[in-house]
Structure formats: structure tokens, C-alpha cells
């Protein structure tokens, strides 16, 4: 992460990691992304006192510890061998050798997504599960077209995930063309799949969900899926080859509920083909070459509730057409050249809207008058707008608001008083230089806060006294440089914290680590650019759930972090320096 830039894009919900032991999350490198979203990964905490493990759990744990002693589990009931398998994957102990014990175990789910070392040599045992196999995730593996051919006989397969499998091409798809029970197929970031290769998809008539995100070679190939009338979800985000002509076959997909075509070359004309999709409720057009004129087509979609027009060419011109989108609940208009005048046109839509993103739009205090009184609004993003204290006055009655982003606005400490009645707030982003301790003092009534971002705010040790009111905080960022060890002592009481970023506070020493050693729920910790040393690392031994540790520009070496990981922090998957 390094530098002191704190500008964070809002993330789609679906991008936030949601699996127990999310290895995906470590690959993304930055934990900042998901701290800004609502969703948290469900983390399997170490057994708390009083939770007695069952005998079955104890046995599974024992097997996991000495897996090399076992040659086969095929005599076990399927649900037990499945649990053993899951545990091995979870603890990263499964290898191509130990996998052999699972031959012919009639397993149903092989979730090997992003698992290290998976290649063609694993496929024989995988296919030996035969007709029992329902779901396979091989994303990020080295499996090739040849390896994929083993799946031919797993005819009951419902779900297949081949995201980020660089070595799979059109030939591989041919091998799975007979798996007509498939309901979900995912092939993200595949450079080799061509329009012609997509012809085999026409036989997968039961597909409900198809994901071709970042497949740059599929232009012209969507014609092969126009017969897949059971399809409910299609993702062709970031396929920058997609043009208007690719939209035409989509008009046949009458069951489509979710369509993502962000960052393609689709224009207003292409959108006109979508008019007949009566069930469409989510449409993501982020970065497409569309203007407000496309709203004419969208007005014909009776169930459209979630519309993303981020980074499109929307201006005030034609914005009155928004009033026809009566069922919108989520609207993203970020990074468009729209002004307060557009918000006035949104009035009719606003009565139902639950989430509105106006990031980096030319919105000011005047425009926010139109938001006043809309208690159904839950999420509001106003970062990088011209909104100031007067504007906050109009928001003071939004009692349903759960999330508000005011980073890089001109709101000041005195304006924040207007927010003190918003007691439903869970997430508050005040990453702005002019915010100080006095602003924090005005917010102590917001005891339900779980996420508080004060990245660039000028908070000092004195201000940390107010933090103690926020007992439910799970994520906290204070990186303005004003904290010392004395201030960090006040953070000690925030026992729910999972993510803590105190980087850029260059006066923090090992004593700060001692103060937070009791925050055992921490998953992510960043204290970069401080005076932390190797000898301070000992205080982190208690943080058994820690997955990410960032101590850049400190007197800490990768060697010592690795040593700490091997002896005390088994869950640490991402660390810097590395």
C-alpha cells in the first residue's frame, strides 16, 4: 500500500469476499477495499471458551494433523470424508499425495479455488467422484484442456468454476460440452476463449449463471447463448471487445435478472435491445458509452431496481427521464458530469431509493435539499463532491441512513453536529484533512458505528478518548500522523475491531503494539511508517486471527515476521515487508 493516498473506490457487494477462509482475499493484496464495504468475511474464530468440540470434530482435527498415515477414506460415509477434505483444504494441508486417499469417496463439493499446486495430476482423483460430484472450483489452477477432459464423466456436475485458469482454451470447453446439467459456469479472465469456442455453450441448456468477465476474445460469440433461456445471470464485465451487435442475442434471454456489461463498447443503441428483458432487476453499465438517452430503453424494464451508471456519459441533459425508473432501489451515478439540477430531476425516483452514489459529481449543498426527508435511504456516497456543512443540514433527518461517505468533501467539524441524530449509522467515512478531534466529539451519539474511516483527518491523542464510545467498531483507520502511544491506549477497549490501520503515525513505538495485543479479533493490522521494531512483534503473538500485517518503513524485517508467523500466527497469509 505504501503512500498516504486514501481514496477508496466503493466496491460492489459481490466482490467482497464471503467465504470462511478466504484465500481470494489474500490475493487481492489490499485489505482496504473490503473494509469499506458492508460485508465481512465470516471468519472461523478459534473455539471460544466453553464451546466443546464434538468427538467428530476432534477426530477430523486428528486426521488433519497426520494425514500422511491414511491411504483411503472410501469406507467412510460421504459426509464425513467431505468434512475431512474441507478441513484439509482449509488448513492448506491437502497435496496431490494426500488427495489420493479421497479416490472414489463420492464427494460432492471440491472447492479448490485458488488452492496452491492444483494441476492436471489432481484431475484423476477428482473425476473418480463420478456421478456424485456436484460442484468443482478449480479457479486459479494450472489445469489444462487435457485435465479438463477428466470431468467428462461427471455428468451430474451442477457448478464449475474455471476462473483465472490460463491454460484452458476452446478445446477444454469442448470436453465439458456434454455436461448439460450444469447450472453455473464461470470462466473469468480467459484470454483464449473465442467466439467460435463459445458455440459449445449452446448445449448447456440448463445454465442459470454464466460468468465470462474479462474474456477479451468473445465478441460475436454471444449469439451461441441466445437459446439458453434459463439464464438468469450473465456477467461480461470488462470484456472490452463487446459492442452493440453483441447485445442483440441477449434480447432472447427472457429470464435474465442480472446483466453486467461494464467497460464494454456498448452505446445507447445496444441498450435498446434489452427492452424486452421483463425480469431484469440488476443492470451494470459502468464505464459504457451511454448517455441519459439510454434511459428511454430502461424505462421499459418494469423490475429494474439496481442500476450502475458509474463513469458513463450522463449529464444533466435528459436527466428528467430518471423519473420513469420507478422501482430503482440502488443507483450509482458516480463520476458523471451531473449537477444539483440533476438531483432535482431525480425527485420521483428518490422516494424509493435505498442507495445513491454521487462520488465525484458536481453536487453541492443546494442539491441535497432534494434528499431531505427520505428515510428509506440507507447508503449515500458524497465523496469528492462540493458538499459542505450547509448540505449536511438537509441530511440530518435521514434516520434510516446506515452508511455515508463524506471523504474529500468540504464538511468541517462544526457541520458534523448535524449527523449526531443519525443513530442507524454503521459506516462513516470522514477521510478529510479539515476534520479534527472536535468533529469526533460531536459524533459520540453514533454508538452503532462499525466502520469509521478517519484516514486523513487530524486526530490526536485527545480525540481518541471519544473513540471509546464506539464499542461496536470493527474497522478503524486513523492515519493523519497525530497519534502517539498514549492515544493508542484508548483503542485497546475496542474489542470488536477486526481491521485497524494506524499507518503514517510516525511516533508510534512498540508500546502501541503492546496496547493492542488484546484485540484478538484483529484480521488486518497496518502500522506502517512508524517506529515499530522487531522486538515489538512479540506483542502480536496473541492475535491468532491475524491474516494481514503491514509494517512497511518500520525497523521490522520480513525474516522476523516470518518467524512470528511460523510460531504464533498460523493464519497470517499476507504481510509486508515480504
Amino acid at each position: 500500500m505504501g503512500g498516504a493516498c486514501s481514496r477508496k473506490p466503493e466496491r460492489d457487494y459481490e466482490d467482497s469476499p464471503c467465504r470462511g477462509l478466504s484465500r481470494r482475499f489474500c490475493k487481492s493484496g489490499s485489505l482496504k477495499w473490503w473494509t469499506s464495504s458492508f460485508a465481512y468475511p465470516s471468519v472461523d474464530f478459534h473455539l471460544r471458551k466453553g464451546d466443546c468440540p464434538s468427538l467428530l470434530e476432534l477426530c477430523i482435527k486428528k486426521i488433519n494433523e497426520d494425514i500422511d498415515r491414511y491411504n483411503t477414506f472410501s469406507m467412510l460415509p460421504r459426509d464425513i470424508s467431505q468434512q475431512i477434505f474441507n478441513k484439509l483444504v482449509c488448513s492448506q494441508r491437502l497435496t496431490s499425495v494426500s488427495l489420493e486417499a479421497f479416490r472414489d469417496c463420492a464427494l460432492q463439493d471440491l472447492d479448490l479455488g485458488e488452492y496452491a499446486g492444483v494441476n492436471d495430476s489432481w484431475m484423476d482423483v477428482i473425476s473418480s467422484q463420478g456421478s456424485s460430484l456436484l460442484s468443482v472450483d478449480l479457479s486459479g489452477s494450472e489445469v489444462t484442456d487435457f485435465g479438463l477432459s477428466y470431468l467428462k464423466y461427471c455428468e451430474n456436475l451442477l457448478s464449475l468454476n474455471l476462473n483465472y485458469c490460463d491454460q484452458i482454451s476452446d478445446h477444454g470447453l469442448e470436453c465439458i460440452s456434454g455436461l448439460s446439467n450444469l447450472t453455473s459456469l464461470s470462466l473469468r479472465r480467459n484470454d483464449s476463449i473465442s467466439a467460435q469456442g463459445m458455440s459449445i455453450l449452446s448445449g448447456l441448456v440448463n445454465l442459470v449463471k454464466l460468468d465470462l468477465e474479462r474474456c477479451p476474445g468473445i465478441h460475436g460469440g454471444l449469439v451461441h447463448i441466445q437459446g439458453l433461456t434459463k439464464l438468469q445471470s450473465l456477467n461480461i464485465k470488462w470484456c472490452n471487445c463487446i459492442t452493440d451487435s453483441d447485445m442483440k442475442p441477449l434480447s432472447e434471454l427472457v429470464c435474465l435478472e442480472s446483466l453486467e456489461i461494464s467497460c464494454s463498447k456498448v452505446t445507447n443503441f445496444g441498450i435498446s435491445f434489452l427492452k424486452g428483458l421483463q425480469k431484469l432487476s440488476l443492470l451494470n453499465l459502468e464505464g459504457c458509452l451511454v448517455t441519459a438517452a439510454c434511459l428511454d430503453s430502461l424505462a421499459d424494464l418494469p423490475l429494474l431496481s439496481n442500476l450502475n451508471l458509474n463513469r458513463c456519459n450522463i449529464t444533466d441533459d435528459g436527466c428528467e427521464k430518471f423519473s420513469r425508473l420507478e422501482n430503482l432501489k440502488v443507483l450509482n451515478l458516480g463520476f458523471n458530469d451531473i449537477t444539483d439540477a440533476c438531483l432535482a430531476h431525480l425527485k420521483a425516483v428518490l422516494t424509493k431509493l435505498e442507495s445513491l452514489n454521487l462520488d465525484s459529481c458536481r453536487i453541492g449543498d443546494e442539491g441535497l435539499i432534494n434528499l431531505a426527508g427520505h428515510r428509506q435511504l440507507k447508503c449515500l456516497v458524497l465523496s469528492d463532491t462540493e458538499v459542505g456543512d450547509t448540505g449536511l443540514h438537509h441530511l440530518s433527518g435521514l434516520s434510516g441512513l446506515e452508511k455515508i461517505n463524506l471523504s474529500f468533501t468540504v464538511v468541517s467539524d462544526s457541520g458534523l453536529r448535524k449527523l449526531c441524530g443519525l443513530t442507524s449509522l454503521k459506516s462513516l467515512n470522514l477521510d478529510a484533512h479539515q476534520i479534527t478531534d472536535a468533529g469526533l466529539a460531536a459524533l459520540t451519539s453514533l454508538t452503532g458505528l462499525t466502520d469509521l474511516d478517519l484516514f486523513g483527518a487530524r486526530i490526536t491523542d485527545y480525540g481518541t478518548n471519544y473513540l471509546r464510545k464506539f464499542k461496536n467498531l470493527r474497522s478503524l483507520e486513523i492515519c493523519g500522523g497525530g497519534l502517539t502511544d498514549a492515544g493508542v491506549k484508548n483503542i485497546r477497549a475496542l474489542s470488536c475491531l477486526m481491521c485497524l490501520n494506524l499507518s503514517q503515525n510516525c511516533n508510534l513505538t512498540d508500546k502501541s503494539l503492546e496496547s493492542i495485543s488484546g484485540l484478538t479479533r484483529l484480521i488486518s493490522l497496518n502500522v506502517s511508517n512508524s517506529r515499530i521494531t522487531n522486538s515489538g512483534l512479540q506483542h502480536l503473538r496473541t492475535l491468532k486471527n491475524l491474516r494481514s500485517l503491514t509494517l512497511e518503513s518500520c525497523k521490522v524485517t520480513a525474516y522476523d515476521i516470518k518467524k512470528l508467523r511460523s510460531t504464533h500466527l498460523p493464519n497470517l497469509v499476507s504481510f509486508r515487508p515480504e
Binding site: 468427538l55 477426530c59 467412510l76
Partner: protein, 98 residues
Amino acid sequence: MRKEDTVKLISAEGFEFVVDKEAAMVSQTIHNMLTSPGSFAERQHGEVTFPEISTTILEKICQYFYWHLQFASGKETEFPIEPELTLELMMAANYLHT
């Protein structure tokens, strides 16, 4: 130990283990047998036969029952499992919902 507070668990080979009812009821399966209404023979006679569970495994399971009670009362020790028993023990644990 009063007779009505205990239960007799009988292994495949006919070996009998007399254990506290409280301990045996750590197993959800045994719990159901001993408490469900109706006239389960098990409930009337206070004994349960497990034709599928060997003596060695049943003994281990009884040890677990008492270990579980200890654990619940705050004494958190390690429960030893011999590697050669694990697979058979698992199947029994699965059956007994333990």
C-alpha cells in the same frame, strides 16, 4: 450411584459399560433414545446395545462423554485419540451425534 441415574451401554462383543446418564446423554442419539416419549425398550431397561460398535471404540466414546462434561465445567484439557482408532471412532461418533 443409583441405578436410575445410570445407563448400560453394550458393545458389539457384549461388553457392558455402566455410565452416568448425564454423561451418556452427551450423545444426541442416546439422549433421544432415553428421553423420547413412547415405550422405547432402551428407556424402560436403561440399556442400549450397539451391534455396530466394538468394545475398544465404545470405551473411547465413554471416555469422551466424561471429558466433555469436564470441558463444559471449565477444565479444558486435550482429549487423546490414538491414530489407529480415528476412522472407526469417527463413524461411531457420526452415528451417535457426538
